[in-house]
Each structure stands twice: as structure tokens, then as C-alpha cells.
């Protein structure tokens, strides 16, 4: 077995290499001097490969649109230096792996010595990353997690600016209430079936159930199904058929939403209204279902726009995002805003990270593309609420509620599956 044992010479050489390497590293750290500042460096990671890239890349895209815009104007103004500095952005692929994300952030902070960090995507990754940021005193505005875990941690340097799972369905239930009050009683929606995946979207499902019951709807069927793992929705569809719900709401991902719709069509269950939270956003959903994707509803309106100017600003951002990544939608707004919050803070108080952190925590932000004042609450959380309900009509996303922003009329009841195509 040991035909190739290490000879004495090899052992000496290996030992010498290790000693020299260790010395070189220490010398580097003791003797390097900071250079004069010519740029501001941001660092972050994103899932640039892997299956989750469809929902995580828009975060990266939103950040890129913001940084490109900043650099087009010459960069960020730094008060203590009296001039604008361009932004350099270093990013790595965390492959949606929390341990990789944490390691990269540590690298960005300690090796590349970035000035500030931006958010990555996904609850699990962010939970790991905010610990690192807290340790080094780097404020981070999380624009990628829907679960309430992050604000609950109560970390000083972590802020949360993103859609909240618990808030997502509220406007949709309000919308159902609105329909209930404005259509003839014999077709008004009274019963709801909710199907949620058992990852973070289940908080969305539970919140929907609670609020719907509060408003007097009857939730006749509620299930949290496994994703991935569920290919056949037959048992669920059978149960729903027996209970005949007026509304079926699916808080799931695009793939299972497509499977669900196809099976609803096959088994002949046409509710009066159908909603799919992520199916609405994902172009693959529309591509796969064709005419069957029409009249799908969802909570939307993340931009919380109420006036035409706000909508124009929002549309402009989304248009620029689409040039980088075609399927981008209003999911790029939160990360875009995250970068802009940081920019404003730096321009107000400079590059000191603690001052920036304090500024973000206390200041009220006003942005042209956000309808409300942005202020982080005492948990350093600003849940981006969905304020509108949208519908897919002829492959396009249009707003239907509230009436003030409606672009197309409400379609109720839905055209039954077998009457389409």
C-alpha cells in the first residue's frame, strides 16, 4: 500500500512551503496600507446558477439597474470627501446555499473590504448573512425574504424591506369582499379553498385563511402540500369538488401551479375565481398554459403606486430591468429601492457605517416610484404590502382593484375551463 511514501526531501519541501506561506500571509496583513479612496465598493451574492434563479435573479437585476443608474450620474456623493465616487459592485454566486452565502459575505467584508453590502435572496441565506453583517457592523437592507424571521431576530444592523408573507394575501381577500358586495347574491363568492406549498408560502396561506374567516368567508378547504414532491393533485381536487368552493387560491410556485391548472382542467373543476400568487408573475406559467392562464388573479401592486407619475417612475424601472433580464417584473422594485435607500443614507451622512445604519433606522424616505413614505418600524421592518390585485388578460398583467388604479374591468365569474380554447 505505501509504495509511494513521502521521502525526507519531499517532507522538507512541503514543510518549507507551508511555513513560507504562513509568513507571507501575516506580512501582507501587517504591512498593507489603505489606498486613497477612488470608488465605493458594494458587495453581495445572488443565486446565479441553480433552479431558483428564476425568482432570485430579479433581486440581482434590481440591484444592477440601481447601480447602473447611479454610475450613469457619476456615482454617489460622499460629503466628507466633497465629491462623487463611482460604485464598484462585487458579487458572487451563492448557489442558493446559506453556508456559501455566509462565507462569501465574510470574504467581501474582510478580504475585499467592501464599504457596504447589498442583500442576497432567500430567507435561509439572509438569516445566515445577517449574523455575519451584525458581527462586523455592516448595515444590510434585506430585500429577499418573505418570512417574519428576520425582523424577529432583532439584530441592530439588519433591515427588512420586502414583501411579507403574512401581508401578501390581505388585499386579495379585500378584493373578494368587494366582489361579494357588488354582484348578485346568487353568484357572490362565499366559500374559498386555499392551497399553499409548505415552505414559507404557508405563512401566506395561513394569513389568508385567518383574514378570510375574519371577513366572514368560509374556508372550505385548506391544504399545505409538499413542493417539490406533488405531481398529482387528484386527491386535493377531488376534495374540492366535493365542497364546491367559489374561489380557489393557490399560494404556490409556477411549476406546481401549472400542474394544478392542467389537472383542474382535466378533472373539470372550474371555480368562479382562480388565483395563483407566483404563477401570475412567472412568464413560464403563461407560456405553458396559453388560454388557461387567462383570468388568473393575484395580489400585486408592490410598488404601492397610486398616481400616474408614480406608476410612470415604476414602469421606467421595470423597463430598464427587462432590458437586462427579460422576465423581470415588479419584483425588481424592492432591491432597487434597497440600493437607493443606501445611496440616500451615504449622501446624507457619509461612509461611516454606524451613521448610515442610524440614518436608515430613523429617516423617512420618499421615492418617486413608491406611493407611501418608507419608514422602518421599531423592528426595522418595512413590509412591502401588496396594495392591488391584478389579472392576467391575454398574457398581460393588468390591475383590477382598487377601482382607482384599475386598468381593466373585473372578470367574475371566470370563464369555465371547458369553454376556452
Amino acid at each position: 500500500m505505501n509504495k509511494k511514501a513521502i521521502t525526507k526531501l519531499q517532507a522538507v519541501v512541503i514543510g518549507a512551503i507551508i511555513v513560507i506561506a504562513a509568513l507571507a500571509v501575516s506580512v501582507y496583513y501587517i504591512f498593507t496600507k489603505p489606498a486613497e479612496k477612488t470608488e465605493i465598493v458594494f458587495g453581495s451574492t445572488c443565486a446565479l446558477s441553480g433552479a431558483e434563479i428564476g425568482i432570485s435573479k430579479p433581486i440581482w437585476v434590481g440591484q444592477k439597474v440601481a447601480i447602473d443608474e447611479i454610475n450613469a450620474k457619476g456615482g454617489i456623493y460622499v460629503p466628507e470627501l466633497g465629491k462623487r465616487l463611482p460604485v464598484r459592485w462585487i458579487y458572487y454566486d451563492d448557489e442558493n446555499d446559506a453556508s456559501k452565502a455566509a462565507l462569501y459575505y465574510e470574504r467581501l467584508i474582510t478580504v475585499e473590504k467592501v464599504d457596504f453590502v447589498l442583500s442576497c435572496f432567500n430567507d435561509a441565506n439572509l438569516l445566515a448573512v445577517i449574523s455575519i453583517c451584525e458581527k462586523y457592523g455592516y448595515p444590510i437592507i434585506c430585500t429577499g425574504a418573505i418570512s417574519p424571521e428576520i425582523p424577529k431576530r432583532g439584530l441592530k444592523y439588519a433591515f427588512d424591506y420586502f414583501a411579507s408573507a403574512e401581508h401578501m394575501p390581505l388585499v386579495f381577500i379585500d378584493f373578494l369582499d368587494y366582489i361579494r358586495k357588488n354582484v348578485p347574491q346568487n353568484i357572490a363568492p362565499k366559500t374559498i379553498a386555499i392551497m399553499a406549498t409548505n415552505d414559507d408560502l404557508k405563512y401566506c396561506g395561513r394569513s389568508a385563511k385567518e383574514y378570510a374567516e375574519k371577513l366572514g368567508f368560509e374556508v372550505v378547504y385548506y391544504v399545505e402540500y409538499a413542493d417539490p414532491g406533488t405531481d398529482d393533485f387528484t386527491p386535493f381536487i377531488q376534495e374540492m369538488k366535493a365542497r364546491n368552493p367559489d374561489v380557489i387560491a393557490n399560494m404556490g410556485h409556477a411549476l406546481d401551479s401549472v400542474k394544478l391548472v392542467r389537472q383542474l382542467v382535466e378533472q373539470g373543476l372550474s371555480p368562479k375565481l382562480w388565483a395563483s400568487s407566483i404563477g401570475f408573475y412567472d412568464p413560464a406559467f403563461r407560456e405553458a398554459l396559453g388560454v388557461y392562464a387567462n383570468e388568473t388573479y393575484s395580489s400585486t401592486g408592490w410598488g404601492q403606486v397610486t398616481t400616474p407619475t408614480e406608476k410612470a417612475a415604476m414602469d421606467d424601472i421595470i423597463a430598464r430591468a427587462r432590458q437586462i433580464y427579460e422576465p423581470a417584473g415588479d419584483d425588481v422594485l424592492a432591491p432597487y429601492t434597497g440600493v437607493m435607500i443606501l445611496k440616500e443614507a451615504i449622501e446624507a451622512v457619509g461612509l461611516d457605517r454606524d451613521k448610515v445604519r442610524d440614518y436608515i433606522a430613523t429617516h423617512e424616505f420618499h421615492f418617486a416610484w413608491v406611493g407611501e413614505t418608507v419608514k422602518f418600524n421599531e423592528m426595522q421592518w418595512y413590509p412591502v404590502k401588496s396594495e392591488a390585485v391584478g389579472i392576467l388578460i391575454n398574457g398581460e398583467q393588468k390591475l383590477v382593484y382598487p377601482t382607482a388604479v384599475a386598468e381593466v374591468p373585473i372578470v367574475y365569474p371566470m370563464t369555465p375551463w371547458n369553454k376556452r380554447g
Binding site: A51, Y225, A226, G229, D232, T234, Q238, V258, Q267
Partner: protein, 303 residues
């Protein structure tokens, strides 16, 4: 649930019917793999990726050139035939080397296949980006009524394809000279080559055929599922249970259809009676238990 009222009866019959259809879909995914694993005893890990390649070929033809999905099948067959050929050629080198160093072939093949999978995945990402895609012909969701049950054309097509291919493969490998030759080669490679059979060539033919069938599966399944470049692994896992359950050898080919049905049925029953979230745990546990009880697969008897 226990009382056999007409409603409950229909409930169960519908579950049975849909399990049959879903079983057909699973069989479609499994067809190429069951051939390679069943006859050649090679666990073809890139199977899912080859399936995806077939899918993308059809997708491009359908979406860019408007070719009907069924008409794209010959081209995806040929493409995956070639891909399989390439993989097989290098695989020969892997086995040759590992045999010469008297190291277990299993380990090297596993690594090699993982490398191939990764390579195909990333080439597909470069060529087609990661956006999920699906083939959506206008007739795809038209409903075919079978009694009180309905099934879409797309799913029915997969069902028919898998049934048909499995029957044909079974006949080939039990009744024809070629099929018997291949099986004898697997039984005893040394004896077979003494008898004049070109071992490598026979194994190669079966292997590339398995890959080509996987490509056809991909084209058909594109109408049922949405795929992205990373869907291959998920697909592989879905059908491993089927392959193991159905067993090896010629009986394995026949068993694939039944195995798929059972797996689909178990998943459905799990979703009905257990916490729906545990469907994966139950199917995997079933697989594990079956493996331990029948190490050579259901159709192949005990170890």
C-alpha cells in the same frame, strides 16, 4: 371515507384512474432508464439530463419554427442517440482504466456520470438560459373523455407512448435474437465473447437506444411539465423508485408500468390520508423498505 357511497366510490375510482395516468407519465420518464438499468445494470445518472436535451430540441423546433411537437420526435431521438454515443465512448475509457487498476467500477462510474450531468446542465444553461420552458400546442389540454373521467391529450399521449414502448422493448428483449444476445452478454461477459458476441458493441447499442428513448420522453413530457435546465435530477429521483420497484432484467421492463402505477397510487393515498407535506417521506420510505426486502427489485426475486 370508509363507507362505499357512490361519492366515495367515484372518489377512489378517480384516484385509481389518475394514478394510472400519472403512472403512465412516470413510465414515460422511466422508459429509457429502465432499458439501460434493467438490461445493462448501469445506473444511468445523466438520464434526466438527456431527457432535458430531448425536450429542448423539441422546444426549439416548436417555438422557433412552429413544428408540431410530435413531428419533432425523430430529431430529438437522433440528437439523444448521438449524445448517448458520446457518453458511452468516454465511459468505455473510464471502465477500461478502472478495471485495470482493480478498483470498484461503481464508484468511478458514479463520478463520471455526475460530471456528465453537470456538463450537460451547464451547456444547456449557456445555450438556453435558465428560464423554465414548456411546449404548449393548442390541442395539448383538449380533454379526452374516458367514461366519467377526463384526461388531457398531452398526458394521454405520454401514457400511450410509455405503454407502447415498454411492450415493444419487452418483446425485443425476450423474443428476438438480438435481445437474447444482449441479455446473455450481461449474464456472463466472458462466455459471451468467446461465443463471438461483440460485447462492447451490444452494450453500446442498448445504451444509446436508452438515451434516444429518453430524448423522446423529453419531447412528450414537455407538454405535461415545465422544465428548466436543472429539472433532470428531480426527474431522475422521481423514477428511481419506479426502476427499483420494477426490478431488473426483462421482467423489469414489464414491471415498470405496474411499478409506476403503484408509486403514483402510494403518493396519492399519502396525500389523501397523511399530511400532504410528507408525500416525499412516504414514497422514499417505501422505496427503502422495498429495496431492503427485494434487493434485486420486485420483478427479480430476492437476493
Amino acid at each position: 371515507m370508509i363507507l362505499f357511497t357512490p361519492e366515495n366510490l367515484f372518489f377512489f375510482l378517480n384516484i385509481l384512474f389518475n394514478s394510472l395516468i400519472v403512472g403512465g407519465i412516470l413510465s414515460t420518464v422511466a422508459v429509457g432508464l429502465t432499458l439501460v438499468m434493467g438490461v445493462l445494470r448501469i445506473l444511468n445518472l445523466p438520464h434526466g439530463e438527456i431527457l432535458i436535451v430531448g425536450f429542448y430540441v423539441s422546444y426549439i423546433l416548436f417555438s422557433q419554427f412552429g413544428v408540431d411537437p410530435f413531428a419533432t420526435i425523430p430529431l430529438s431521438f437522433i440528437t439523444c442517440l448521438l449524445v448517448g454515443g458520446g457518453i458511452y465512448y468516454l465511459m468505455r475509457k473510464v471502465s477500461a482504466r478502472s478495471k485495470s487498476t482493480a478498483v470498484g467500477t461503481g464508484i468511478y462510474q458514479i463520478l463520471y456520470f455526475m460530471g456528465v450531468s453537470s456538463l450537460i446542465q451547464n451547456l444547456v444553461v449557456i445555450l438556453f438560459s435558465v428560464t423554465p420552458r414548456s411546449i404548449n400546442p393548442s390541442y395539448g389540454l383538449n380533454i379526452l373523455s374516458i367514461g366519467p373521467f377526463g384526461v388531457s391529450y398531452a398526458r394521454f399521449a405520454c401514457f400511450i407512448f410509455s405503454l407502447f414502448s415498454l411492450i415493444v422493448l419487452y418483446v425485443i428483449f425476450t423474443k428476438t435474437y438480438f435481445g437474447v444476445a444482449v441479455r446473455s452478454v450481461i449474464e456472463d461477459a466472458d462466455a459471451a465473447s468467446i461465443m463471438g458476441a461483440n460485447v462492447n458493441k451490444l452494450v453500446g447499442i442498448v445504451y444509446v437506444l436508452g438515451c434516444a428513448l429518453a430524448g423522446v420522453s423529453g419531447s412528450l413530457l414537455g407538454m405535461v411539465y415545465i422544465f428548466n435546465p436543472y429539472s433532470g435530477m428531480t426527474l431522475l429521483f422521481t423514477v428511481i423508485s419506479v426502476i427499483v420497484l420494477s426490478g431488473m432484467g426483462s421482467r423489469g421492463i414489464a414491471g415498470t408500468f405496474i411499478g409506476s402505477f403503484i408509486i403514483a397510487l402510494i403518493a396519492n393515498l399519502s396525500n389523501t390520508f397523511l399530511t400532504p407535506g410528507l408525500v416525499q417521506a412516504s414514497t422514499y420510505t417505501l422505496l427503502l423498505v422495498l429495496l431492503i426486502l427485494f434487493p434485486k427489485g420486485f420483478g427479480g426475486g430476492r437476493a
